[in-house]
């Protein structure tokens, strides 16, 4: 373009912050890869390695691999170019397409190494003299050495299993909750107060065990579990605590009519069934388990240990036990994975759960517990201290397992 004036382009002047961020981008692109992308260099045959690196020789017409079958783990290839052209070596997956590892730029007379971590399976090796075409291929079998390749894969499996178990637990508790709620609602609607009172605390335990999951449905939780003290202005009061007040009436309370009771009961059942339906498809990643366990314990500290939750029935210790159950199951489902990452934390949690459970057991009465208003201040304090002691290590569970 002769005579073209000099280019005009207005770009914003680069500030020092932008320069810094560019450098950061560059660093950020490389650093995590360097940190996570490491593999052990298998060195020349030493004490344990029965065979050294797999010898590969490449020339114009051949791609000789010294061995046709190797045990899984870290495979090391020493690829020697005995031809006159530049060659490349590929380790391909069984489909012959996916690259498991490669070395390029192997000049004549050079030996270059490739180290890959390979699980058992069928593989294809290929040399590409002249760097074109499909290369000279051969099959390579990797047998199961019994050594786990990569602790991480194994760890992930433990986490996944734990999550599956906990999801099943949640589903089971929800089903029991639905069944129990129907029985409770029937008795309550029919005016059988004695039976309803009997069922009240035991049925609610299924709810309290899975409370964080139930609470994740923001619309259902207030309908089912709102306490009178927490009602928003204009909010219609339904759910368990509405029935509680009616079943364990304070002085001067006007009982609900049969129609009102029936309405509460029907609503309770339909909301619980909706909860059951949604829980069936709920997805619970590992962090939900860990955080859920901690939430359950916070629930204990906030409502149960203070006797606020069941202000009329005083059945707080049932809820207390149920919250602890839910937290303990989540922890135990994650324990195999945790034991691998942080065994000390696993032991500590075991001890703290046991101590709290032992203390709680002191108040067991028949199938249930003592009423909250039967406890003295010193006893409440002792329980609160154990809850706090458990809460501290429990708050570390999520990061230990998920990070």
């Amino acid at each position: 373009m002769p005579g073209t004036p000099l280019p005009k382009m207005t770009l914003p002047k680069m500030t020092s912050r932008r320069r810094k961020s560019l450098a950061l981008v560059a660093a950020a692109a490389a650093v995590p890869l360097v940190l996570t992308g490491c593999t052990d260099n298998t060195k020349t045959p030493g004490s344990s390695a029965s065979a050294g690196p797999i010898q590969v020789t490449s020339n114009k017409t051949e791609c000789k691999v010294s061995i046709g079958s190797v045990p899984s783990g870290n495979l090391s290839f020493a690829v020697k170019n005995e031809g006159t052209e530049i060659t490349e070596f590929y380790l391909l997956a069984e489909d012959g397409l996916r690259i498991v590892g490669e070395v390029e730029n192997i000049g004549p007379g050079l030996t270059r190494n490739l180290v890959v971590t390979a699980p058992a399976g069928k593989y294809t090796t290929a040399c590409k003299p002249g760097m074109q075409g499909d290369g000279i291929r051969a099959a390579l079998e990797v047998t199961d050495s019994g050594n786990k390749t990569g602790v991480d894969a194994d760890f992930q499996k433990l986490v996944d299993t734990g999550v599956q178990q906990y999801t099943a637990y949640v589903r089971d508790q929800t089903e029991q909750l639905v069944t129990g709620t129907k029985a409770f609602a029937d008795a309550y609607a029919a005016g059988d107060a004695t039976k309803a009172r009997e069922l009240y605390a035991a049925t609610r335990m299924h709810w309290e065990r899975i409370e964080p999951v139930a609470e994740s449905f923001g619309d259902l939780d207030p309908k089912l579990d709102a306490r009178e003290a927490d009602l928003e202005p204009g909010q219609e009061w339904t759910g368990w605590h509405r029935a509680e007040k009616d079943l364990f009436p304070p002085a001067g309370y006007t009982a609900l009519t049969a129609t009102e009771r029936a309405k509460i009961a029907t609503q309770l059942v339909s909301d619980t069934e909706e909860l059951g339906k949604r829980t069936r498809t709920v997805v619970l990643p590992a962090d939900k388990l860990g955080n859920g366990a901690k939430e359950l314990l916070d629930e204990v500290a906030r409502g149960k240990v203070t006797g606020e939750e069941e202000i009329w029935s005083h059945t707080d210790l049932w809820d207390f036990q149920a919250n602890v159950d839910g937290a303990r199951i989540a922890f135990e489902n994650l324990k195999p994975a945790l034991a691998q990452k942080d065994p000390a934390l696993a032991t500590s949690l075991d001890e703290k759960f046991a101590a709290l459970q032992a203390e709680l057991k002191k108040y067991a009465k028949g199938d249930g517990f003592a009423y909250y208003n039967e406890l003295g201040p010193a006893e409440v304090q002792q329980l609160a201290a154990l809850v706090d002691a458990l809460g501290e290590p429990l708050s570390k569970l999520t990061s230990a397992v998920v990070l």
Binding site: M1, P5, M9, M14, A29, A30, C38, I86, N105, L110
Partner: protein, 286 residues
């Protein structure tokens, strides 16, 4: 020997070209004082690459293949972003050269100089790791025969020599042409680097489509031939190109080139001022 020479040449050219064009630009615009920063970037990249290569060759741990490719690919893409920014930055500062804004431009250039260091470091660094691994392998073989190492170093030297000739050549080009062509050249090279980076990421399995080829001319342009080597070294042309690579190349080069040329065309004619600046710059370069 020839084959190792060609590897050295190819890798050398890949790393050199961007640096040479930036260098010529600085000289042309009378900013020789900023050259040391460019060299600092190059030096950092070379040192880091060689150290890394040694570590990976002799250290207790090596990088997995996927990580190597991901680093190469990732750095390539970052390099493209920076080169693109550089091209437009150059266009902008070069234009204001003519006016009384000279001091302001110098200030701006000074500010952007750290960007220059990064660009130079990336241009060299993205090829550095692979080249260093190759060189260490050649050095290890030196016991049996020094030919591979010699060939490789010779290739690198020739690449540097070609770079120098190119540098001298572009210095002779008339200033306004120079800016247009360096810009276009850098954009085309950057397009190649982008495609190459995409290919690396495909090989690492991070991006799909490694086996869906848009074209395969490796029979006509064998990658191991000298002309295949030159095309690869200069334009990053891969004889067997995947659709994703080709698409990325087109999607990058066409719009960027369009905006760049449009910016050139629509610039108001300020010939007298430019001529003065051009003379000033040329005399400094001489």
């Amino acid at each position: 020997m020839t084959a190792n020479f060609l590897i050295g040449l190819r890798e050398g050219l890949e790393a050199t070209l961007v640096v040479v064009l930036l260098m010529a630009y600085l000289v042309k615009t009378g900013r020789r004082s900023l050259l040391p920063r460019l060299w600092a970037g190059v030096g950092i990249a070379v040192a880091v690459s060689i150290a890394f290569g040694a570590l990976l060759t002799f250290g207790p741990q090596g990088l997995t293949f996927a990580a190597q490719e991901a680093i190469g690919g990732g750095l390539s893409i970052v390099a493209v972003a920076l080169v693109t920014w550089m091209v437009f930055w150059m266009a902008r500062t070069a234009r204001s050269l003519g006016g009384e804004l000279k001091s302001q431009v110098d200030k701006l250039a000074d500010g952007a100089a750290w960007g220059l260091v990064v660009v130079a470091a990336l241009a060299v660094g993205r090829e550095g790791l692979e080249t260093a691994l190759f060189l260490w392998a050649a050095a290890q073989a030196a016991g049996e025969s020094s030919q591979p190492l010699l060939g490789a170093l010779l290739g690198l030297a020739v690449a540097a020599g070609l770079g120098y000739l190119l540098h001298r050549g572009v210095l002779k080009v008339n200033l306004s042409r120079f800016f247009t062509w360096t810009g276009v050249g850098l954009i085309v090279i950057a397009g190649g680097v982008l495609a190459y980076g995409i290919h690396d990421l495909q090989e690492a399995g991070i991006l799909p489509g490694l086996h869906n080829l848009a074209f395969d001319v490796s029979a006509a342009i064998p990658p191991s031939s000298w002309y295949g080597t030159l095309l690869k070294g200069t334009l990053n042309l891969s004889p067997a190109t995947t659709w994703l690579e080709a698409g990325a190349w087109l999607l990058y080069v066409i719009p960027v080139l369009y905006f760049y040329i449009r910016a050139n065309r629509s610039a108001p004619a300020k010939s007298s001022g430019n001529a003065v600046a051009g003379n000033a710059a040329t005399s400094k370069a001489a």
